[in-house]
Amino acid sequence: MSPETVPAGVIEGGWEYVWAAYALSWAAVLLYAWSLRRRGKRVP
């Protein structure tokens, strides 16, 4: 697609995708940090 045929404009809305990405990432990192803490306690 040449630059002339790229549709112009702004994507409307999209906050739900933004929140999903941030929430999922924070949750995953915190869960991984918590798993490290758990694994540390189980080391003999």
Binding site: V10, G13, A21, Y22
Partner: protein, 243 residues
């Protein structure tokens, strides 16, 4: 008298590590808050462009982890020191966590922007290869129970897998790609650099804190394996003697 391997009580998180965790959380929270609530919406992507302040720092952190693993692998092969293996193990595991998040975030961003969750674009494909390669090294480590064999195999595989890191980075220049170009001053507007840089530093600090914590666990294993009379976690397979 022989020294017993350290127990978790003997290897608590040092004070600097706790301070690093606190600093990292505050820093990344500040960067994300700036990007979510204060930065302007992107000219074409609108609000979905705010995922940039999460996605780019995640990419840099994943690449930094893999670079640390690569450096540890080279140093481990060069010196033969077992403690380098702890860094390699930690950096790969944390790197895989961030790389998986990178793919998921990219997928969430791609849906409203490109209209698809996934496409076999060069940047996406090379990143997927990176995730599989480094996750494969973690699987390989689980299969090898002789410490020396595991260290060497991990180091060699890490060096081989790291070849994909510059390929991922330059893929948007080398091939025709839907993906955004490299994030540089000439491709990112000035007002977006503030929240982006703060988020990058914060996420790198989070990655460093996780690698430090994971490395402490790995060092306990290294100490246990180096203790006199240590046996592999699982017995070696029985072999028939030559007649």
């Amino acid at each position: 008298m022989t020294a017993s391997p350290p127990s978790p009580l003997e290897v608590p998180a040092p004070r600097w590590e706790r301070a690093l965790v606190l600093l990292a959380l505050l820093w990344v929270a500040a960067g994300h808050a700036w990007g979510l609530f204060l930065a302007p919406a992107e000219a074409n992507m609108g609000q979905t462009g705010r995922i940039l302040y999460l996605h780019v720092p995640t990419a840099w952190t994943a690449m930094a982890c893999f670079a640390a693993a690569f450096a540890g692998a080279v140093a481990g092969l060069w010196t033969g020191g077992a403690r380098w293996d702890a860094l390699v193990e930690a950096a790969i595991e944390v790197g895989v966590v961030f790389a998986v998040l990178l793919v998921v975030q990219g997928s969430i961003w791609a849906r409203p922007t490109w209209g698809v969750w996934w496409t076999w674009d060069p940047r996406l494909t090379t990143t997927a290869i990176l995730v599989v390669a480094f996750a494969g090294i973690l699987v390989l480590r689980g299969l090898l129970h002789r410490p020396e064999q595991r260290r060497t195999a991990t180091a060699v595989a890490t060096i081989a897998a790291f070849v994909d890191v510059p390929v991922v980075y330059f893929s948007v220049q080398w091939w025709r790609s839907l993906h955004q170009p490299l994030s540089r001053p000439d491709t990112v507007d000035f007002v977006m650099w503030g929240p982006l840089l703060v988020s990058v530093v914060g996420t790198l600090l989070v990655g460093a804190a996780l690698v430090a914590a994971r490395r402490r666990l790995a060092l306990v294993r290294v100490a246990r394996e180096q203790a006199p009379g240590h046996l592999p976690d699982r017995p070696e397979p029985l072999r028939l003697e030559d007649p």
